[in-house]
Symmetry: C4
Subunit: 195 residues, 4 copies
């Protein structure tokens, strides 16, 4: 039951984050195609961030599914993750409004990196509570994908000042890498598999 | 349990979408009837979109009720549907603020069409996971109503540039068509029927 | 389970309504007491509406607790109630910003009346599904309090154009009348009673 | 079940409060570091308030976990707590936008104090319903930490007019004091403990 409420709260926060991002696309006053044009980069940023929050929700869902006990440390590690994810609407809006300028792109990467670190801390806190032989420890394993995406975000931050399109490409690559659902946990939990 | 969390997250997102749409009705500064008048088209758009999101919530609720297993593919198909629904506040606001001009009406139809396609993909993903003999496959059947409403939205998009009121009438017809709850599933699940 | 999801969705919508109302209190730019003064009527309107949404949540919670089955008609009767409640942030903001002028006060009463009617329709739909001998039918009884508060709201609307303070007083009286939780249902369901 | 819905509603409201606070950090129009600078105090205020709402969510979660029955009085005591917490986005935004001026700092403390009192009322209402020998009564005990943090907030309010940085330091101290999860309840409920 304790776990359920942490899931419910996280679902609430993630649902709000993913939905208020769309509020950054302010309704324009004109009625022709030209008034929509300045919204295009904001829309593209929104798609990218929607996918990222979706990825985090998906992985969080899988992770909690494999978790049995939730203690005080886990609650705070989870809030810490939600904190960084809550900055997505801000960095998404800033990146979109400035047509993918260097600094906003770098800041986006910084939030991405902090969220990845926060997720890693959450995983470690849960594994510390459940033990090394637990289902969740086996399911996560070495978490190569998690470490790799944090490293790519780390690289993308300084790269933004060289060429921001390269950074942006890295963000898209990280997202695509995760769009495939976490087969490690699905392998162990047959009820997750479609068919 | 896996299904529950996907339902909870969808409920959260749909609840936020349906509620933030009302924020497009900005509180006016005057205090007489004339200051309310420009809000009338926004209010009418809000009613239409409220009904649409209500329809999606209702159908989603029935669909998930008949579903037994939720896999990674279903989670993403669901997020894809939520993405298109999340654009409702934007297109509703734009349509209302421009007093139902042609382009905003067409864009509204485009979002409606994409949501219908996303719902169709979600249904197919679930049926693929549950099998052709499953409860959900029988309950949905050929989904004539779903296909018909997607076709009507497809027609309404170009029609907006000929006469936007015809398009709007089509949107109202689609909504009315769905206001009747999904009897196909209710027929199979007696606990859904109001006596 | 069907009931649970309707409760979850309603909780989500009511939680958002009650919370976004506070966004009408725009953060002022100054830093002294004088900059807070124009916010006072908005704050008072917020308190009144917070109490009203709280009352609806409370009664809704008690009503659903006594309900066993939820059908398609109930889902739409519930969405209809949520629609009128979703207009609370707008009328609250308009009433507050205009320092309780006549027309905003009357519109507030109109939304209050429509919400009361929508609640009454929801109750009747549920009782129609559960039967006259059901727990919920016995618990609601003649619903004198519900009918009385709808009548008071009906009186308050034209009264606003005579003296808006009298209307406002009526709104406060209706709220106070409901602040006492619904003892009718608590009487029948002992697990609701404190001690 | 009654308890579950009160938890779900509180989770919804707290999730929205914690997330809409970030909307006070308006996306700036420039794209260099200088445009971010004025947002720094708003960001720091956001962190502080995020931690506070997190603390309340955490303690609320522990408190309800130890509670067995929820009556009408408890529902209203809970709404009363949510009311004061709902003012956090406003006072956070006002404090941040005025770079921690005296009056906004004092008002922040007043909301903090009222929330602490409301939490105390909620605890007392629950204990009155459950009895002095109940799990929750034993788990809370004399609530020294709760009383102490209310007293510190009470001191911080007038102190803001002498030196606002001292007040702010007190707010940080109160937060740190609570960041440690409520071991009193965890001691009694072993399923809460990590490991």
């Amino acid at each position: 039951m304790s776990k359920n409420r942490m899931e419910a709260f996280s679902d609430g926060v993630l649902a709000i984050i993913i939905t208020i991002m769309v509020l950054e696309m302010k309704v324009p006053h004109g009625q022709d195609l030209a008034t929509l044009q300045p919204l295009l980069p904001i829309f593209l940023s929104y798609i990218l961030s929607f996918v990222y929050v979706g990825i985090y929700w998906n992985n969080h869902h899988h992770l909690l599914h494999a978790t049995r006990r939730v203690g005080g440390g886990t609650l705070w590690a989870n809030l810490h993750l939600l904190f960084w994810l809550s900055l997505f609407p801000f960095v998404t809006g800033w990146m979109g409004e400035n047509h993918f300028a260097a600094l906003p792109i770098a800041l986006y990467g910084a939030v991405l990196l902090m969220a990845a670190i926060a997720y890693w801390i959450l995983v470690r806190t849960i594994i510390a509570g459940e033990g090394r032989d637990s289902l969740v420890a086996k399911a996560i394993g070495k978490d190569t994908k998690g470490v790799l995406s944090a490293l790519l975000a780390l690289v993308a931050i300084p790269l933004a000042f060289v060429n921001q399109w390269l950074s942006l490409t890295l963000y898209v690559i990280i997202a695509l890498m995760w769009l495939v659902p976490d087969r490690r946990i699905e392998k162990l939990l047959p009820e997750f598999r479609d068919r």
